[in-house]
Amino acid sequence: MTLRYGGWGHLLPWAAALAFYFFGSDLLSLGTNALIMVLFALSLDLVLGYAGIITMGHAAFFGFGAYVAGVFSIHFSNDPIAGLLLATAAAAVLGLITGALILHTRGVTLMMLTIAIGALVLEVANHLRAITGGDDGLQGIRIAPLLGLFRFDLWGHTAYLYTLAVLFVWFLLAWRIMRSPFGRSLDGIRQNVRRMRAIGTPVWWRLVAVYSLGAAMAGTAGALSAQTTRSVGLTALELLTSGTVLMVLILGGTRRLYGSFAGAVVYVVVQDLAAQADPFRWMFVIGALLMAVVLFLENGLMGLVDLGAARIRALSGSRREQR
């Protein structure tokens, strides 16, 4: 991931997120949703932005994590962290199995397979309505106090900080991993798989590994969603959700450290505003936004930021080394 704006670039988003905690008391649940979407989009960035696996079925892991966390809290234990870890591991396993099954294909065939698997997981959830609640969704999720100390209050204070902390941990991990030899080899696979084979890279293994990693991360996001909103519905598994997270990622910009932040925040805000009016109005706005991004904003919002920064630099006449 490229970090173009130095140390301050790092601080800004996290500072903003913390500031929001103090100043945005009424909108904390919205903020939590945004943070969850950041994590979800980040997970897709690993799989699609870096490794180039075009998937329209990433919601399967999000939803699976959500249901695992929800069911765990209802039937086994309320502890949020235990549920989170279990959901993450479960999603990783699902990613491992499905990835191993389909990642020898590529391009359109692979995309279709991801769609088929997404549809299959949705049907399984629908079918097992005794466990998942089917169309009505999962009800009765309760969350015990975090670490036994911090209750999940009605205004979402604990939920917000809990989500922010989890996002931070995954963020650090993702950053470290994508700059590693492993991460670089995946970037190589995306750019030129033939070249990577020619240097002896076990391509399939690497792809399965990153797919499982992305699945785990998406599972965490799903679990957070289940725990902080105390509900899970079948929408979490739908094609619509897979398309939405894809859009959020592209909107923000792939392979950029904070692209997911930008995209997620914009999406959540737009969705909240538009959905209040009429559910289909937000579809129109999102759809138009998506089309505009593809036509005009190849590098997403971070691309806009780059343009702005370049203008400023040109105006001020200073030069900075980029890399």
Binding site: G107, V108, A116, L120, M247, L290, M291, L295
Partner: protein, 287 residues
């Protein structure tokens, strides 16, 4: 429920899938564009017909009108939206067409409302017909017959006509096709519009099996894509076989193992795609 009835129902369902999906396979194969908006054109056809029928327009005219509207919308879309996409890669195409689908859904529901649209059938198509061992819905027989006729007509068009020859040339190698004077852009436009028109028609004819509601374009997109994928992108014969096969699998699963029907369907698709990643009958040899 006798096996023959299940077969008939499955074939009828398959025909609907074929009518809608054949346009998609040809355009994905021809223009090499990942088109996730195909369901939207089927939806447009269905909605237009529903409104026309509601206003008292006779069935045939309504169906024809719906087909035309879907085709025209397709032509406009090709010129404005799809053309810039040809060189942008699969991801950009998927996103753009996905966004376009959202826009269409929003527009249709804004204009026509968000309840399910029913398409009342004309007298001569409704009712039951005696097929020997039982009475069977006339409409389904009509769909089967129509599908076969369409398949035959398309085969004539693609395999036997000059247009078809140009089409196949452009699919195999657009650069050389241009070099020998084939107006590839006009070919794309015509074919895309034709594919969307067929989708619209399929949306009308299939409304009994695929009910017209706001999320139609997304809900059944999976089905259409899978028919194309299993049949082989760009292969219209393959899409016919795949559509019938998937129609049969889905219908028989629903009758014999209703609780596991959905699994079986997607499981079968998964298995088919893994067995033959390039489709049951891939259109062209490796490039």
């Amino acid at each position: 429920m006798s096996a023959l009835t299940v077969v008939l129902d499955g074939v009828a369902y398959g025909m609907v899938l074929f009518i809608i999906s054949v346009g998609l396979t040809v355009t994905m194969g021809l223009m090499r564009v990942v088109n996730l908006a195909h369901g939207a054109f089927a939806m447009i056809g269905g909605y237009v017909a529903a409104v026309a029928l509601g206003a008292g327009v006779p069935f045939l005219a309504a169906a024809l009108g719906a087909t035309l509207v879907a085709g025209l919308t397709g032509a406009l879309a090709e010129a404005l939206i799809y053309r810039p996409l040809y060189r942008k890669g699969e991801l950009a195409q998927a996103l753009m067409t996905f966004g376009f689908t959202f826009v269409v859904i929003a527009a249709l529901t804004a204009v026509f409302g968000s309840n399910i649209k029913a398409l009342p059938l004309p007298g001569y198509l409704s009712g039951l017909v005696d097929i020997g061992y039982r009475m069977y819905p006339a409409y389904r027989l009509f769909v089967i017959a129509f599908g076969l006729a369409l398949a035959f007509a398309l085969w004539l068009l693609i395999d036997r006509s000059l247009y078809g020859a140009r089409l196949r040339a452009a699919v195999d190698n657009p650069r050389i096709a241009r070099a020998v004077g084939i107006d590839v852009n006009r070919l794309f436009l015509l074919t895309f519009a034709g594919g969307c028109a067929l989708a619209g028609l399929g949306g009308v004819l299939g409304s009994e099996l695929l009910p017209l509601e706001p999320y139609y374009a997304l809900r059944y997109l999976v089905l259409f894509l899978l028919v194309v994928g299993v049949g082989g992108v760009g292969n219209f014969k393959g899409s016919f076989v795949a559509a019938i096969a998937l129609g049969l699998i889905d219908t028989s699963a629903k009758y014999y193992l209703p609780s596991a029907a959905a699994y079986l369907f997607y499981g079968a698709v998964l298995a088919l795609l893994l067995w033959r990643p390039d489709g049951l009958m891939p259109a062209r040899s490796a490039q």
